[in-house]
């Protein structure tokens, strides 16, 4: 990951419902939005940002672009992402919820071959408080500081950030890896990024039920992460087989008897316990646990 206050940013789907809502907010935070793309809207502007019909036209006009925030409809996300990769953009933030899993399989195959970072889908994006905002973060809840925050959620990430901010624990980087079942960047990738980041002193990992990304993250932390990590897991009391609003947050075994233990809260708590990682029982306990870990 190579983003800073100086990064040049594209918004794909700028004239759509999400683009119109979030472009101005990102600009207000200081993010340098140099161009937008919305097919059929080329030649117009939104919040002073020039709109192009295609990504390659935007690059011809404004020069190299570091990152793109993709806000198009779910069934257009794969195409928009492939278009960005083809144009040479190597940081992709997929905000839109509900991208079909097999589209993500195709996209991630292309991303891996080009060393492209894909965040999301169903993601609030990435924020480096005080520097740059790529996505939907409400800026008021975040503050600059030394805590790395990684999460599968949107508003729950803001909730945790609020507790940190109120306790005087600002954030270096916050990222939501996405609530859909198949997402791009993993907890491990971000743990590694935060471990190498000089601005980050400790990490908060916000997981939830469903899938096995928390279990894999716990194993990875033992192997590779030196900085203190505090975990929180949402969904302990969520009913089994109930759709909670994230396609990824459901405990269900599709194949009888195969992987039936995957995704339960018990499995996740056990994984963090085995890895000796403190698990906060509520968001308001996180600042205290961080302060303890940083004092050691």
């Amino acid at each position: 990951m190579d983003l800073s206050a100086h990064s040049k940013v594209l918004v794909q789907g700028i004239a759509g419902a999400l683009g119109q809502l979030y472009t101005g907010r990102m600009q207000a935070y200081g993010t340098s939005i140099v161009a937008g793309v919305s097919s059929g809207q080329g030649g117009q502007t939104l919040d002073g940002v020039p709109i192009f019909d295609m990504v390659e036209q935007a690059l011809q006009s404004v020069g190299p672009i570091d990152a793109t925030v993709i806000l198009v409809e779910p069934y257009r996300t794969l195409d928009a992402a492939l278009e960005a990769i083809a144009a040479g953009i190597r940081h992709l933030v997929l905000v839109t919820e509900g991208v079909p899993p097999l589209d993500m399989v195709r996209l991630l195959y292309a991303a891996e071959r080009t060393d492209t970072l894909v965040v999301g889908p169903d993601s609030p994006g990435i924020i480096l408080p005080g520097q740059i905002l790529l996505g939907t973060y409400p800026a008021e809840l975040y503050s600059p500081g030394r805590i790395g925050l990684i999460s599968r959620s949107g508003t729950l990430t803001h909730e945790i950030a609020l507790h940190l901010t109120q306790a005087g624990l600002g954030q270096s980087i916050a990222v939501g890896i996405g609530g859909d079942r198949i997402v791009g960047s993993s907890f491990q990738q971000w743990l590694q990024i935060l471990d190498e980041d000089d601005q980050t002193e400790a990490i908060v990992l916000v997981g939830e039920i469903g899938g096995n990304s928390e279990e894999e993250a716990a194993r990875y932390i033992v192997e590779a992460i030196d900085k203190p990590v505090i975990a929180y897991i949402a969904g302990r009391t969520a009913p089994k087989n109930q759709f909670m609003g994230h396609a990824g947050a459901i405990i269900a075994s599709l194949v009888a008897g195969w992987g039936s233990e995957i995704g339960t809260p018990d499995s996740k708590f056990a994984a963090f316990q085995t890895a000796d990682i403190p698990v906060a029982s509520r968001p308001s306990d996180i600042p205290h646990l961080l302060q303890q870990a940083l004092r050691v």
Binding site: T96, G98, P101, L102, G179, K240, A249, L254, V255, W258
Partner: protein, 396 residues
């Protein structure tokens, strides 16, 4: 979305996976016009597994027995589901029963081919012996042959079984499936293969681009209705169709506190915190997060008013907790929507309503609500305190 067996087999037939001659039975008297020769098997068409063990699959030799068996199966619930239709199918004598499936591995983000040479009812006992082959990149038939070899198949079965797996993979891609499963895939003494059962789960996010599958489902007379939950059941009743709440998934619980939140993670965390604090939810509604075209963020306030309408009608309700988080603009809009909603009501609030709007930036929004000066409206900043207050008020 799950397909019923006969719908799955329609798809199998389209791609050339062999299935037995069969006929859909909507009513026991349909058996009098049966076009398949006896003996046949009658199978309950429900989404639940374990049909055979539950008595939902019966072999019959003649029309009289068939009508009687069909009547019994139509009245037999399987895990609470009654069949709307049965499938009458030719009887088949397999030599061996195999297992094949294609799924997505969410952590490797690649499709997985699964197979076992001990399929049928034995599968669960031997599930640890299911073989896996990861499809890494562009599919080619050698992946299916690799699976056949890992399953321990030899000779001509390598070709015939891998050909089925290849066709299943084709279905998986074409229709955006979460799962396609054949159990059992029967092998007869001549080495021919036959899909005796089929399970297909279509990815819900992709349904919008497969109108043919949606039509298949609505072609059913009615989607099967779940039987009423046993008394004292702790799990919520899923309400797929909530009038006035398009695209939302409300949940009902046996307690007395109503909960409204925005976003899935925050909803789950709030439910956990209510449980920890000794509260018992009666109903819970996630109004939607910030990234959805189905639930556009700029219509949050509309959903909030509809959600309040819905939740205030919940049975046993003694109080409502609203936990909404967002930037200043969102908080201001939410406060205005709540004020608007409360002013519109003909009667004053009959229940305590605890509104939690977090963050210093929400000060103006909180003040606006506090200024309404309604006795049952409590406005708070801290989540823990708001939950404690809501529980105390709903138990008072």
């Amino acid at each position: 979305m799950d397909l019923l067996e006969y719908q799955a087999k329609d798809l199998f037939q389209k791609v050339g996976i062999p299935v037995l001659p069969s006929q859909r039975i909507d009513h026991p008297k349909d058996l009098k016009g049966l076009k398949i020769p006896y003996p046949i098997v009658l199978k309950s068409q429900v989404y639940a597994g374990g049909r055979g063990k539950a008595g939902g699959v019966r072999f019959v030799e003649n029309t009289i027995d068939a009508v009687a068996a069909a009547q019994a199966i139509f009245y037999l619930p399987i895990l609470g589901q009654y069949p709307e239709v049965l499938l009458a199918e030719a009887k088949y004598a397999p030599d061996r029963e195999l297992y094949l499936a294609v799924v997505l591995d969410p952590s490797l983000r690649r499709p997985l081919l699964l197979g076992s040479r001990e399929g049928g009812m034995e599968l669960e006992a031997t599930s640890r012996q299911i073989q896996q082959v990861l499809v890494d990149g562009e599919f080619s038939p050698f992946y299916a042959r690799r699976l056949a070899l890992k399953m321990g198949l030899t000779g001509e079965l390598i070709e015939s079984v891998s050909a089925i797996a290849e066709k299943m993979y084709h279905l998986f891609l074409t229709y955006d499936l979460d799962l396609v499963e054949i159990n059992p895939l029967a092998v007869n003494p001549a080495g021919e293969v036959m899909a005796l059962d089929g399970k297909v789960t279509v990815n819900d996010a992709a349904l919008g681009r497969h109108p043919d599958l949606v039509a298949m489902q609505s072609g059913d007379r009615d989607s099967p209705s779940p039987a009423p939950a046993p008394a004292g059941m702790a799990h919520p009743a899923p309400l797929d169709k909530a009038p006035g709440l398009p695209n939302l998934t409300p949940m009902l619980f046996p307690g007395n506190l109503g909960i409204l939140c925005n976003g899935a993670g925050l909803t789950m965390a709030t439910l956990d915190l209510v449980d920890q604090a000794g509260g018992q939810p009666a109903a819970c509604l996630n109004l939607g997060g910030e990234s959805s075209y189905r639930l556009p963020p700029d219509t949050l306030c509309d959903r909030l008013e509809k959600g309040l309408d819905w939740i205030l009608q919940t049975q046993r309700l003694r109080g409502v907790l609203l936990n909404l988080l967002g930037g200043s603009a969102t908080c201001d809009a939410v406060a205005a929507a709540i004020a608007h909603y409360l002013k519109q009501q003909r009667q004053p609030l009959s229940l305590p309503l605890v509104v939690r709007l977090g963050g210093a930036h929400a000060e103006a929004a909180r003040r606006r609500l506090a200024a309404l000066d309604l006795p049952r409206l409590v406005v708070m900043e801290s989540l823990d305190e708001a939950i404690a207050k809501a529980i105390a008020l709903s138990q008072a």
